[in-house]
Symmetry: C2
Subunit: 211 residues, 2 copies
DNA sequence: ACGTGACGGGACGTTCAGGTCCAGAACGCT
DNA sequence: AGCGTTCTGGACCTGAACGTCCCGTCACGT
């Protein structure tokens, strides 16, 4: 997430440590609220109150609400990718994939599926409206798929996954299953559909292992 | 969709043919706008203009915007289920599943993935806010899964699908793959991820056929 | 210590969406 | 045909959310 903060601070060079801290407080508070309530239901006054700042700060750091939303999208993108990189950068076995699945399911079970995936929810809410944010999120999904695909390729290199399996396609399928699972779980307020979706995707990968 | 209309007309018994027509115009216009622009970005004035009605009509037929949103959710639910029932009620072979996939992909390709699935988009946008609408959508997903599961069971009965396959779990996985595919396609403005997601799910079903 | 520029607070303006109301037109029934 | 009921139109109200502004405060360099 430091990436996102620095990317913007580079655009506005004069920024003291205090200012940067305020900006970070704003984005983090907004990220939390927008995840829980949705982007549209989160007002700037909510953000102001939650971040302990004031209106002028919001408009000191962001041109308008859309700019804040974009910053929030970048923050979630960085957070999710950091988390996933930690899980996937050393992925090299089917069991690693199972552990990945379990971590995601457990995390989502803790809130009964509510809120879904921060990226997925933002994507549907924002993609009709803000092209820039949509492209950020699209690139993030692609990066996420790449992390998975790299892991699958390592499984191929070490002879665990059949070499004729299409790692990129599998990665897209896994992320789609995950996102679809998030959506069904969120709608049903129940993690079970997410488990089923991921298990089916993993079952499919299992059929492609070198037995 | 007649179901949804009748369900409400039953609640408000006094309603002339003209009134019913007005109500239907409102819901249909709102459904279109909310699908394309999103629920939140659609104002009642938009609906009024698009339906060729007036404010008082909206509030004559619906208590508030949330009630209209619920009616729209019911309309989409009925529309999607009617469409899917037409495709799936006689599903009895793997090729039927492939045709189902092709129809969905083709339909979504026509708009480059934009807007996604009406049900899925509404679900994420509404589920944090309106429990009733969320439950309608959740029930619709379940019904949809059931249509698929019934088809899969027919494939088992006719000996095409292995009897130890879990039809319900497969159905959930297929719908999740579809919804995840919709989401990725919408974010990328490209149908390809949806194709990959569905193909992976179908590949998995293929491994469960009686060879 | 003193001045400059960034930071901070919050009152205020403006717009716009949701929701109300009432008078008149259309309908349907006897 | 006449009358009550329902439907229709659109003006109007209200509140809330976005965005502006101005002045006070703080930090840092000289």
């Amino acid at each position: 997430m430091s990436e996102a903060v620095e990317a913007v601070s580079a655009r506005t060079p004069r920024l003291t440590a205090r200012g940067a801290a305020t900006r970070a407080r704003i984005v983090e508070a907004a990220a939390e609220l927008m995840y829980v309530q949705g982007v549209n239901a989160t007002t700037l006054d909510d953000v102001r109150a939650a971040s302990g700042t004031s209106k002028s700060q919001l408009y000191n750091h962001f041109a308008d609400k859309d700019a804040l939303v974009r910053a929030v999208a970048e923050l979630w993108a960085a957070r999710v990718l950091a988390r996933e990189e930690a899980h996937l950068s050393r992925l090299n076995s089917f069991n690693g994939l199972v552990r990945w699945r379990n971590a995601l399911v457990q995390r989502n079970a803790a809130q009964n599926g509510a809120y879904g995936c921060a990226l997925g929810s933002m994507a549907t809410e924002v993609s009709d409206h803000d092209h820039e944010a949509r492209e950020t999120l699209s690139a993030t999904f692609q990066r996420w798929e790449q992390l998975l695909a790299d892991g699958l390729r390592r499984m191929q290199d070490s002879g665990r996954l059949r070499p004729d399996a299409d790692a990129d396609a599998l990665a897209t399928g896994l992320i789609a299953a995950l996102q679809g699972g998030y959506l069904l779980a969120q709608t049903a307020r129940n993690v079970r559909p997410m488990e089923l979706a991921l298990d089916m995707a993993l079952d499919h990968v299992r059929t492609l292992l070198t037995s």
